[in-house]
C-alpha cells in the first residue's frame, strides 16, 4: 500500500526523454494513451485504434491473414541471410546449398525458408477460405478480394521460382514440368494454338527460341540463364509486386470499413 505512489521501472522509463522521443506516448495505461499507442506508431497504425469485439476472436479470424504477412517477413529475413551464401550459378548453387546446412552456424535458415514458404501457401489458402466462409468478399470488399486472389497467385509463383534455386533433381524437373506448360500458351507459346498464325510468309515469329517459355527460362531448356532469371524474380521481381499489392490490400481493409462483421 505504501508503494502506491512509487513509480514502477516501466513507468519511469516511459517518462524518460529517450522513450518519449521514440514511442511518443508513455506506457499505455489510460484509454487515451492506449489509443495513442496505436495511432502514434507507423507500424501499429495499420490497425484502427478500436475494433468490434468479434474481430479479436480467433474463432472468427483464424489469424491467417496476419500470419501470412508474418511469414512474408520471416521469409524476407531468412531469404536475405541465405543470399549471403548462395550464388545463382550452375557451378556453385548446389554446393552453396550444402554449405548452408553443413558449414554455417545454426544452419536451419534454409529449413526455415523452405518450410516457411510451404506454410505460407497454406496460411494464404486458409485465409482465403475464411474470407469466403464468412462472406467477407461481398460489397464493399469485392476489389480487395480480387487483390487477395492476385496475392495468392503471386505467393504460389514466389514459391515456384524458389523451387529451382537448390539446383537439384527435384528443382529442375519440377520447373521443367511447370514451364513446359508455357510452350502451349495460345499465340505466344510455340506449341500453342494460333502460334503458327503469327508468321510473315514462311518465317514463324513464334518458335522455340522466341516464345514465352524462352522468355521465362532464358533458353530452350532449364539452364544457367533460367537459374539467374528465377533467382532475380524470386528475390526482387515478385516480392516487389507483392509488396505493392500488400500495401493496397491492407489499405483497402481499412478503407472498406475494417474487418467484416454482421450488421
Amino acid at each position: 500500500m505504501e508503494n502506491k505512489n512509487k513509480k514502477s521501472f516501466l513507468e519511469r522509463m516511459g517518462e524518460s526523454q529517450v522513450w518519449k522521443s521514440i514511442i511518443r506516448s508513455g506506457v499505455p495505461r489510460s484509454r487515451r494513451q492506449r489509443m495513442q499507442a496505436i495511432l502514434g506508431s507507423v507500424f501499429l497504425h495499420l490497425h484502427p485504434a478500436r475494433i468490434p469485439k468479434h474481430a479479436v476472436k480467433i474463432g472468427y479470424t483464424w489469424c491467417m491473414g496476419g500470419l501470412s504477412f508474418f511469414l512474408f517477413i520471416v521469409l524476407t529475413i531468412t531469404g536475405i541471410l541465405l543470399m549471403f551464401y548462395y550464388r545463382p550459378t550452375v557451378e556453385y548453387a548446389y554446393t552453396d546449398i550444402i554449405d548452408m546446412t553443413e558449414q554455417v552456424p545454426l544452419g536451419i535458415m534454409r529449413e526455415l525458408h523452405r518450410w516457411g514458404a510451404h506454410a505460407m501457401v497454406l496460411t494464404v489458402w486458409l485465409h482465403m477460405l475464411r474470407v469466403f466462409m464468412t462472406g467477407s468478399y461481398k460489397p464493399p470488399r469485392e476489389f480487395n478480394w480480387g487483390v487477395g486472389v492476385l496475392l495468392m497467385t503471386l505467393t504460389l509463383f514466389l514459391s515456384f521460382t524458389g523451387y529451382l534455386l537448390p539446383w537439384d533433381q527435384l528443382a529442375i524437373w519440377a520447373i521443367t514440368v511447370g514451364t513446359n506448360m508455357a510452350r502451349a500458351h495460345p499465340f505466344i507459346g510455340h506449341e500453342g494454338p494460333g502460334a503458327s498464325l503469327l508468321a510473315i510468309g514462311d518465317i514463324n515469329l513464334v518458335h522455340a527460341g522466341s516464345d514465352v517459355r524462352f522468355a521465362l527460362l532464358g533458353g530452350r531448356f532449364v539452364g544457367e540463364a533460367s537459374l539467374l532469371r528465377f533467382y532475380v524474380l524470386h528475390c526482387i521481381g515478385v516480392p516487389f509486386i507483392v509488396m505493392i499489392l500488400m500495401a493496397v490490400h491492407f489499405w483497402r481493409i481499412r478503407k472498406d470499413g475494417g474487418i467484416s462483421g454482421p450488421l
Binding site: 477460405l129 475464411r130 461481398k138 486472389v149 514459391s159 533433381q169 519440377a174 495460345p186
Partner: protein, 372 residues
C-alpha cells in the same frame, strides 16, 4: 483384416471411384437445395458438422496415415519431407472447413429463430486494439515461430542429387500446390490445363464477388442463406483443387499412372492407351467413311458440341430452368457466370468421357495444336 482394408482403400482411391463417390456425396454434404437438405438431415450427414463429426473425421484421417506409416509402400510417399505440407493441408483444411460449417450451422439456427448471428456485438461496444488485438497477434506469431523452428530442426529441407538434365526422374512432379493442374493434364492438353484453366481460375475467383449478388451472409459464418454459392465454391475448392492435389501426391506413380496408396510403384505397370478422338468415333467407327481431309469438316461434330455446350446451353438455360435467375442477375453477370461455371464443370465432364468412352479429344486438330 488389415490387408483387406488396404485392398479396399486401394480400389476406392482410384480416381474413377473416389472422384465419383466424392462428387455424388458432395451435394448431400453441402446441400444446395431443399431436397438435398432433407436427405442431409434425414440420414444424419449434418452430424459431420457437430463435435462427434469432428472427432470422427480426425480419427479417420489419422487412422489412414497411421496405417500408411506402417505400410512399406505408402510409407515411402508419406514420409517424404516435401509431402509433409500436404498432410498439414489435409488436416488444416478439414479443421478449417469443419469449424466454419460448425459455426455456420449454429448461426443458421439463430437466424431461423430471429436472432442475430453469434458474431454480432453492439456496434458502439468496441475493444481497444492495444492491448486486446496487439497481444493476440504477438502470441500468435510467437507460437507460429516456435512451430516453424521445431519443424525446421526436426525435418531437414529435402535436397536430392545435383541437377542432371540427362536423367529424368519418373514420375517428375510439379511443386505440390500445382499438382491439381498436373492432374488436369491427364484429361486436357497443356494449353487448356496449364494456361486457359489457370487464367480462368484466377479471373473466375476474382469475379466471385461480382457474380454472387446475394447480399446475405456477409461478415458471419452461415450456410443456408448462401448455399448455392457455397456449394459451387466448395466443390471447386475441395474436389477440383485439393482432392486433385491429394491424388497427384499420393496416388500418382511412375509414368503418372494411378497407384493405390498401399500399392508398390511398379515402373513397368502396363496401362493400355486406347483413347479415341470424337472425330474418329464419328467418321471411322460410325460412318465408316474414313477421315475427311478438310480439317474443319473432320472436326465439325466437335465444334458443334463445343459451341452447343459453351454457347447454346447457356441460352437454353436462361430461357428455361434458370429463367428467374437470369432476370435477377442480368445478361453480363450471367454470361461470365456461365463461362467460368461451364469451364469448371467441363473438367469432371471430360474426366467421365475419358473413363466411360475412352474419349481423347472432342476437337482434335494437332496440326494447329488445337486439341480440346
Amino acid at each position: 483384416m488389415l490387408q483387406t482394408f488396404k485392398d479396399i482403400i486401394d480400389i476406392l482411391s482410384a480416381p474413377t471411384v473416389s472422384f465419383t463417390l466424392l462428387t455424388i456425396a458432395f451435394p448431400f454434404v453441402f446441400p444446395p437445395t431443399d431436397w438435398f437438405e432433407k436427405i442431409h438431415r434425414k440420414f444424419g450427414i449434418c452430424r459431420l458438422w457437430t463435435k462427434p463429426g469432428f472427432y470422427g473425421g480426425m480419427i479417420a484421417i489419422t487412422f489412414f496415415f497411421v496405417v500408411g506409416y506402417f505400410d512399406p509402400n505408402f510409407n515411402i510417399t508419406l514420409t517424404k519431407a516435401d509431402n509433409f505440407p500436404i498432410i498439414l493441408m489435409i488436416y488444416s483444411m478439414f479443421i478449417a472447413i469443419w469449424w466454419s460449417m460448425y459455426q455456420a450451422y449454429q448461426n443458421d439456427d439463430r437466424l431461423e429463430n430471429g436472432l442475430k448471428p453469434m458474431e454480432y456485438n453492439d456496434p458502439d461496444d468496441k475493444v481497444l486494439v492495444w492491448p486486446d488485438l496487439v497481444y493476440i497477434e504477438f502470441i500468435a506469431l510467437i507460437l507460429f515461430m516456435v512451430f516453424l523452428i521445431v519443424w525446421s530442426i526436426l525435418v531437414a529441407a529435402p535436397l536430392e542429387e545435383p541437377a542432371n538434365p540427362a536423367a529424368t526422374p519418373n514420375p517428375s512432379k510439379a511443386p505440390w500446390y500445382f499438382l491439381g493442374l498436373q492432374e488436369m493434364l491427364v484429361y486436357f492438353d497443356p494449353w487448356i490445363a496449364g494456361i486457359i484453366f489457370p487464367i480462368f481460375i484466377i479471373i473466375g475467383m476474382m469475379a466471385i464477388p461480382y457474380m454472387d449478388i446475394n447480399k446475405k451472409g456477409d461478415g458471419y459464418y452461415s450456410f443456408k442463406e448462401r448455399r448455392i454459392g457455397m456449394f459451387i465454391f466448395m466443390y471447386g475448392w475441395v474436389v477440383l483443387w485439393l482432392f486433385l492435389i491429394v491424388i497427384g501426391t499420393f496416388f500418382r506413380g511412375p509414368n503418372w499412372n494411378f497407384f493405390g496408396p498401399f500399392e508398390y510403384w511398379d515402373a513397368h505397370k502396363v496401362v493400355p492407351l486406347n483413347n479415341v478422338n470424337l472425330s474418329e468415333y464419328i467418321w471411322v467407327k460410325m460412318l465408316g467413311t474414313g477421315m475427311p481431309t478438310n480439317i474443319l469438316l473432320r472436326e465439325i461434330i466437335g465444334f458443334i458440341v463445343l459451341i452447343g455446350y459453351m454457347g447454346i446451353l447457356p441460352i437454353i438455360l436462361a430461357k428455361s430452368w434458370l429463367k428467374n435467375y437470369f432476370q435477377e442477375i442480368g445478361p453480363v453477370r450471367y454470361t461470365f457466370l456461365m463461362l467460368f461455371g461451364l469451364s469448371m464443370l467441363s473438367l469432371p465432364i471430360k474426366m467421365y468421357m475419358r473413363w466411360l468412352f475412352n474419349l481423347k479429344y472432342i476437337i482434335a486438330i494437332p496440326e494447329w495444336f488445337f486439341n480440346i
